[in-house]
């Protein structure tokens, strides 16, 4: 029996009352590739942040044993010193510096306090060889593709005499060749005695590379599977990932769907010039009048990007394909065009790009449709108050008055203000991006009820959600996205947790 390089025993961690991890145990043997699997919010990233010292010792319960010693990491550099390196999904490279400068950033080759650049380049070349990357070390990092950048990041980690390498969804942004390359490299590093922990959503990769796999769900360890015993298979992993009971908190509604198509997308693609790749690929979908369609998928699967590309191309992507509203071909130049055509988009990140936190409820509700309550550009204060009061009542927004700043409201009430803003526009199609993230059960139920009411009034809804229960409980039809593509369409009758997860982890 090989010895464990890492043992995390009964780790618990909570954020302001919400338990993110409860009593998690996680053991990694020396020299293995161990995959960490779970839905969004299962606690994978939190666990790795506890391990690397991002959440310092004392802010969590339980203990970490690394190389046989109980460790107390107070900051990230403590864990780095012990030989633990994390490579995040969002790369931590300096795009305007060269490859060799990046590799030795923070770990410079010094000679009496002065950097020895020649030696640095020599060393960098050795490191690049180790990770099988053939580039001139004097290339700027921004001129490399994402796959190569990832290898530079690994090379950087290797300079620090790393014993345990942690990769957070390393292949999420890579194409197949680059992914395979990376997985091969991990195997090679394993032969050199480096242990790896890989967080991944792509089950095929997990099956091909993992010696062991630990599944987390809702902040708890579900099981650890062993490849040697033949336990790692797609069906077993999915079963363990989704085995949650779904509460029946979803209000019922009679079917209202008509055959009239409100929105159609044909071969719809969006290219993000900043990322240099397609974030939405060849999407075909339609929404009928009076229908709620659910768009399921894991984080980073391109759901929000799809919504933004449809809603007036708010992120300035390069678009391809056809967008039709009510059977009419449309081209939106600005978000206001989309609003004009009857679309509304309630964002995922309420605080970041949804609300004006320093302004009061009244101003937020009227923000997207000020012209409706103004004449000659002058706002009719009384009208505005009336509108705000009526939404406060109908959506049960809990606040002392409509003159309260939305920054001071709870998450659920903020979400209702967001919703009110868009309902006041009078849309035909409402796009809800994670409509119930971070809000309590009571407010959730109220939002579901409002959605049903809207459907009854002839609206259509696209609901983007990571919560499988919500998708299954509220939708008439489900699209599953992964890597910017629609991986499958399921009628609500045939959809279940396993099927959705299977498509989402392709």
């Amino acid at each position: 029996m090989a010895q464990n390089i890492l043992e995390m025993n009964s780790i618990s961690k909570s954020f302001t009352g919400v338990k993110a991890l409860s009593n998690v145990s996680f053991k990694v043997e020396k020299g293995e590739i161990h995959c960490l699997i779970g839905e969004n919010g299962a606690g994978k990233s939190t666990l790795m942040k506890v391990l690397s010292g991002v959440y310092p010792y004392g802010t969590y319960e339980g203990d970490i044993v690394f190389e046989g010693k109980v460790q107390q990491f107070h900051k990230i550099s403590d864990s780095v010193k012990e030989g633990i390196a994390i490579i995040y999904q969002e790369l931590a490279l300096f795009p305007d510096l060269t490859v060799y400068e990046n590799i030795f950033a923070g770990n410079e080759v010094k000679n009496g306090g002065v950097i020895d650049w020649n030696q640095t380049i020599v060393e960098a070349k050795k490191m690049l060889q180790k990770v099988n990357l053939q580039v001139n070390p004097e290339t700027l990092v921004k001129d490399l593709g994402v796959g190569k950048q990832q290898l530079v990041e690994i090379a950087k980690a290797l300079t620090k005499d790393v014993k345990l390498l942690i990769l957070d969804e390393p292949t999420a942004a890579l194409n197949e060749d680059d992914s395979e390359n990376l997985l091969n490299l991990l195997s090679e590093l394993k032969d050199q005695g480096i242990t790896s922990i890989m967080i991944s959503h792509k089950l095929k990769e997990v099956i091909s590379i993992a010696d062991k796999a630990t599944v987390l769900r809702d902040g708890e360890t579900v099981c650890t599977l062993d490849a040697m015993k033949g336990e790692i298979s797609e069906s077993v992993i999915i079963k363990n990932m989704v085995g949650r009971e779904i509460d029946d908190i979803y209000p019922k509604r009679p079917k209202h769907t008509s055959e009239e198509k409100i929105l159609e997308l044909h071969n719809w693609s969006a290219y993000d010039p900043q990322l240099g790749r397609n974030v939405v690929k060849n999407v075909n979908l339609h929404v009928k009048r009076g229908e709620i369609i659910g768009i399921a998928g894991l984080m980073g699967s391109g759901r929000t990007e799809l919504a933004l590309s449809v809603f007036g191309n708010a992120n300035s992507y390069k678009l391809q394909g056809d967008l039709m509203v009510n059977g009419e071909l449309k081209e939106f130049k600005h978000t206001s065009d989309a609003i004009q055509a009857g679309l509304a988009y309630v964002t995922e990140d309420r605080k970041g790009d949804g609300l004006f936190l320093l302004q009061d409820i009244k101003n937020n509700i009227s923000a997207a449709n000020l012209h409706h309550i103004a004449s000659g550009g002058v706002i009719n204060d009384n009208e505005e108050i009336k509108v705000a009061e009526s939404y406060k009542k109908s959506l049960y927004i809990k606040a002392s008055s409509i003159e309260q700043n939305v920054g001071k409201l709870s998450g659920g009430n903020q979400q209702k203000v967001s919703l009110a803003k868009w309902l006041f526009v009078g849309p035909k199609l409402l796009i809800l991006d994670e409509p119930t993230r971070g809000i309590d059960v009571g407010a959730k139920f109220e939002i579901y009820s409002v959605m049903n009411e809207l459907i009854e009034n002839g609206l259509s809804i696209i609901m983007i959600s990571s919560e499988l229960g919500e998708v299954l409980g509220m939708s008439d039809r489900v699209y599953v996205m992964a890597q910017g593509e629609i991986k499958g369409e399921l009628s609500i009758a045939e959809a279940d947790q396993e099927k959705i997860m299977e498509l989402a982890t392709q």
Binding site: T335, A338, A367, I379, D381, I385
Partner: protein, 390 residues
């Protein structure tokens, strides 16, 4: 006692809004005592307000620029340059005043729009774009005044903008009648708007301050307006500069609080992404705000040139920094979305009072700069502290 408690909580809850009024009051009181009342004399107050005018109008525009998270460093020399153009039009080209002023204002709008395009369309940081503008206008000012040096303006109508007073109609026991009428109209308008505001709030069952506090506030503000009017009426009455300043404040106050455009400006400032996703045209708002800044820079140039009755080669030096200082003292926040036009005016008056008061006391110029710097730092610290508390 209840009244006192209510007033206390009201002040502590709105300390951010009242802070600069309190500061202004303290400054006025201090200088009045130290100068044996000379500071509050009719003549001095009239001078003080006139000298604050050209910075105050810049501060109004600058407040909006800062609200949408930008800055405009070009306004000082733009004002100087446009003032020189006005002087050239009036003297060398022989254009009438009534044509010159609109031409200069339109030129100002164009200058501002150019900045707006650089910032919003091409995406240059406003600090850099307007810094370039500052250098260009400085050069342009030198260029147009190179041959003649200082351009003296003989046109009395133009010069009255910076030095003249509204006609008095009649002197009543040594007081300026029209000014008093203007003051009374101001008070009546204020009382009317407060009453209708309160009535509306009660109609919608909003929380309103108690009757005692309401009356107290009415009396207090009316008394201040009456006092200022009385002081000014005792000298030459309202100057044209003060009237222009008041008109700018009233117009911009209305624009920012009552119109769709104003709402959009504050929305863009407080969260540009959310504004964009709410269908607002962030670029258009940026053009408008910079355009208005340019127009006010032109107005500032006119006021300053008229005040000096000439265009000089150094006109506009450091105006932009004085305007920025006034805006910050007036409570604008660089994080965007917060800041009132009325605050900008108070900020400008605070800074002008400091200069004026210290001049009366004969404080050396070196200390004057340090003290004004300290007040600016203090204002921003106060702003940050009160925001943290919330």
């Amino acid at each position: 006692m209840n009244l006192f408690n209510e007033a206390k909580t009201l002040v502590s809850e709105n300390i951010r809004d009242y802070g600069m009024y309190i500061a202004l009051f303290v400054i006025i009181l201090t200088f009045s005592i130290m100068t044996d009342g000379l500071f509050m004399s009719s003549r001095n107050i009239s001078n003080l307000l006139d000298s604050a005018g050209y910075i105050a109008v810049l501060a109004v525009g600058m407040t909006l620029v800062i609200v949408i998270r930008h800055i405009d460093l070009s306004v000082g020399y733009a004002a100087g340059f446009l003032g020189a153009i006005a002087a050239i039009l009036l003297t060398q080209a022989g254009v009438s005043v009534f044509l010159t002023i609109p031409i200069i204002l339109i030129l100002g709008v164009m200058v501002g729009l150019l900045n707006g395009v650089l910032v919003a369309k091409i995406g240059i940081p406003s600090f850099v774009a307007t810094l370039a503008g500052m250098l260009i206008f400085r050069g342009a000012l030198l260029q147009v005044t190179e041959k003649t040096g200082t351009i003296i303006i003989q046109d009395d109508t133009f010069n009255a903008i910076g030095n003249g007073y509204i006609p008095s109609l009649l002197q009543v026991s040594g007081l300026h009648l029209l000014s008093i009428l203007v003051g009374i109209a101001g008070i009546l308008f204020y009382i009317y708007s407060e009453f209708s505001n309160r009535k509306n709030k009660i109609k919608y069952e909003f929380e309103v301050v108690s009757k005692g506090i309401f009356v107290l506030k009415l009396v207090f503000v009316s008394a201040i307006i009456a006092y200022i009017t009385w002081i000014l009426a005792g000298y030459n009455g309202f100057s044209w500069t003060v009237i222009i300043m008041l008109l700018v404040v009233i117009l911009y106050h209305f624009l920012t609080t009552k119109t769709v455009l104003g709402r959009h400006i504050y929305a863009v400032g407080s969260n540009p992404e959310a504004a964009h996703l709410s269908g607002m045209n962030v670029k258009k708002i940026t053009y408008i705000v910079f355009g208005s800044m340019g127009m006010l820079a032109a107005l500032s140039g006119i006021l300053f040139t008229a005040r000096l009755q000439s265009a000089t080669t150094t006109a506009g030096t450091l105006f932009e920094l004085d305007a920025i200082a006034a805006a910050y003292v007036g409570g604008v926040s660089s994080a965007g979305g917060v800041g009132k036009v009325t605050g900008a005016i108070i900020g400008a008056i605070v800074m002008a009072s400091l200069t004026n008061g210290m001049n009366l006391l004969g404080v050396g110029i070196s200390y004057q700069y340090m003290i004004r710097g300290g007040v600016l730092a203090g204002a921003v610290i106060f702003d940050v502290m009160t925001r943290k508390k919330r």
